[in-house]
Symmetry: C2
Subunit: 501 residues, 2 copies
């Protein structure tokens, strides 16, 4: 039998050839160096993204990093007009009609974007379809290199191409699986969701895509998938630099500051995903000490002498930062603390107590909204109570007074009233959950409110948000379940010291 | 303000302490050494599990490895009786009632298994619940150390504890997320599914759990999550030993044989999951050669001289093996070949053609069932056709004749009839899919049937399953989509050489 004659064939045209990028090998960890990676960093990892705190909150947190640094690159009108501003369902259906399509066509042409018909194959073709996969690679390369307004246009193009898929089954998931498999970059998937969260109110229909991606991310970032690693002065400088960039609670001001935070009496742990090895997803900074920490400035003083570990009985979690806005709502902060406590118990059996030293970020904003009748009962001194009773703006007045008193470190009646107001606020619930986002996190984990600390954070942010106060949440591993049950019953667990304030 | 007095607390009792096992650190890759890992290997990774072929098939594949080697340890009655043999829904509902419960209670007591009430917390408690997580660790440790019958009992206990969760939401997923997070072993999750597939017809209700776990595994093992790595003679011997163990198509007989398979004119690639680093999930063996391979014995001959790579134009995929029964139905074989072709094109631009040398595992079984009228038209020679026409057992006759002719390497009319019968079989579809499991895999990937090879695999298995014939499937990267479309239209793509047989 003769073998059939075979025409010598060209190598398949692949996105990797066309873009001049080498094919992505399996060993390439996370993002490579160079401009593409840089672009991703800038847009996905805005510095100053706040901690588990912000990620628990329903509000979008501050202006996205990249737009803030590149305002000129983000003209608001063209993209949002083309993609259609979020509107009532009727308007949306109209928006999918001729008018929007015409505008979008012009805009696709202007930006040389792939046409909706081709983009639709990203949703529909089988995951091994070569043509669709080539397009997926091109799309991913382009997205990674794009400025924000082009990214928004590319996302709007995805929405448009997917709009007519009805009934909508798993096509959205297929799109994202394809993009992940073909780009070989989990970081891209996280960046996509961050961008979708940012623009979902501007680009009609983006929310659906965002939710489909969130479902996949919650599996891809399942806590079992994460690896806990210590970070110390022996860690790569590039990694420490990322901590400096991501630290959301107490800014790291210098390399000297960084070095003190990983000194012998400190620990730092982060969760990593094995497919994003160079990016800490969430990290916690721990001080090991003889006493429960009462003030953060002394902890953060780079000149503070290093404590002997032999006397350490307390592990103080003084900063927890989420780094990925694209993973909002996919919580692993609670697992992080659980794993870190186990790790510390194994390494340093002399440690007996585990607590936080935490801000009360919602306190001042809450107090400002309180009228006299709501707070007068909490104030110390008959005269103060009577003065507040008739004052509709009593909350505002007290915010000003507390800040001033904290700044001067006055230990008088204002201090006691301030602590009582804060204790009341920390125990306040809405729909069964603590009002304060940080309290929501720690009480939800089963910690208890252990102690309030006056004039404990005199940084501008500390004074602004918490009137300078801080709180310790105590983690007693054997009581977490019970405390959580109490919270569920509407009674957050509080120490006697705080009860008796 | 005085801090509240804190009673020094004991360290939480953890499963890790109780079992005398060290707490599992995050860096511990996959399974540790020792008896526990050993137990897992034996029961999850039966040698002789066949390749992508078998995983495409709906039939359970052969007897599980461990049971085959330890028949005495697997008394059939007690566990299956206790857990209730699969039955009609009514019977199942009865089975959940008093009778089953009583039997199960005795059995739980006998085996000192956790009671259903506790086990239910694995489904219901929050993922941070300490008590439930402690139980999950104990359960996982016990499972890993258990013999098959105890494993089956533990699984039946899960089913029973989950039986009354109605309506059933995400509790099943929560159970498995908890077991994964607390055991920190993805390999355990794969082992669980393998065991569930094995026993789902014996333990009523196990199928539901199996499907819930499969949904999670398909995300955890999403192809984007996998890493392609080459395997060669520099790879750890423990890894090469696993290949020897897992090779499903052409047994590796010795270390000399293994060494030849990773010599300079060969390549081997495997997909790995970053959380199961020491386990190849699927691997492919490639021979680089001047010609398309026609017989496997010469390829496999350890004494065959190593070819010069300069003249190599062909990459021949001669063996693909899935290693994890627990990942059945979660296909990544097609992605493996796609990625390997790209890798080879980048490394060795002189390669022009990519083809397989594959068995036809369903051929003999298919032919045996054919009567004369069905096959007579395919036979060469009027006399043969007429003889077959009236013979209801013509298929059986021809299987015997073809095996004998192949064994003797006779190149006569039997050979031509055999090739035509095989070509016909390979193109036969059922519900739009090729009958033959290996054809289903490669044609489904967009390859075409390139050449049939007579007396190409004279091993006992080759003669038994394929009457000694083999087939080359040709992968032309630029034609895969088109070929797949043809298959979808009911016309699998075939070379002219095969058309003209």
């Amino acid at each position: 039998m003769t073998p059939a004659k075979i025409t010598p064939s060209n190598r398949p045209e692949q996105a990797a050839d066309r873009t001049g990028q080498p094919a992505k090998g399996p060993d390439r960890p996370g993002l490579g160096p160079g401009q593409t990676g840089q672009g991703l960093d800038q847009s996905t990892l805005p510095p100053g993204q706040s901690g588990p705190h912000a990620s628990q909150s329903a509000q979008p947190s501050g202006p996205p990093g990249r737009e803030a640094t590149q305002p000129a690159a983000v003209p608001e009108q063209p993209a949002s007009a083309a993609a259609g501003v979020a509107a009532a369902p009727e308007a949306q259906r109209d928006g999918r009609g001729a008018g929007l399509l015409a505008r979008l066509s012009r805009w696709l042409e202007r930006d040389h974007l792939p046409d909706p018909q081709s983009v639709r194959t990203l949703y529909l073709a089988s995951l091994t379809d070569s043509a669709a996969n080539r397009l997926a690679r091109q799309w991913a390369e382009r997205y990674l290199a794009a400025a924000p307004d082009e990214r928004r246009s590319l996302l709007a193009g995805l929405v448009l191409a997917g709009a007519e898929l009805e009934p909508r089954g798993d096509q959205g998931e297929r799109l994202f699986r394809r993009l992940y498999a073909q780009s070989d970059r989990l970081a891209l998937m996280v960046a996509l969701r961050a961008d979708m969260l940012r623009w979902r109110n501007q680009v009609a229909g983006l929310s659906l895509l965002e939710q489909e991606l969130a479902g996949l991310l919650s599996n891809w970032f399942d806590v079992g998938m994460l690896e806990l690693h210590p970070i110390n002065w022996d860690s790569p400088a590039s990694l420490l630099e990322r901590l400096i960039q991501y630290e959301a609670v107490h800014e790291i001001r210098s390399w000297q500051d960084m070095r003190r935070r990983v000194a012998a009496d400190r620990r730092c742990y982060a969760f990593f995903h094995p497919r994003m090895r160079d990016t800490p997803l969430i990290f916690v900074e721990v001080a090991l000490a003889e006493q429960m920490g009462a003030g953060v400035q002394e902890l953060l003083d780079p000149a503070r002498p290093v404590d002997a570990l032999g006397k350490a009985r307390w592990a103080i979690f003084y900063s927890i930062s989420n780094t990925q806005p694209g993973l909002r709502g996919i919580s692993f902060g609670n697992f992080l603390l659980q794993r870190v406590i186990e790790q510390l118990q194994a390494e340093l059996p002399q440690l007996k107590f585990f607590a936080t030293l935490s801000p009360i970020p919602g306190f001042a904003a809450w107090l400002e909204k309180q009228g006299g009748p709501a707070i007068s009962g909490l104030l110390v001194g008959k005269a103060e109570q009577q003065a507040a009773q008739g004052d509709a703006a009593a909350g505002k007045t007290w915010v000003v007074r507390l800040r001033a008193a904290a700044r001067l470190q006055r230990n008088d009646a204002e201090r006691r009233s301030g602590l009582r107001l804060a204790a009341h606020y920390l125990q306040a619930l809405r729909n069964g959950n603590p009002l304060d986002p940080v309290a929501r996190f720690h009480l939800g984990n089963g910690a208890r409110i252990e102690r309030l600390n006056w004039a404990a954070d005199l940084s501008p942010k500390g004074l602004e948000q918490s009137c300078g106060m801080m709180v310790n949440y105590l983690y007693e591993p054997e009581h977490l379940d019970e405390n959580r049950a109490r919270l569920a019953a509407g009674k957050p667990r509080v120490s006697r010291g705080v009860q008796w304030l």
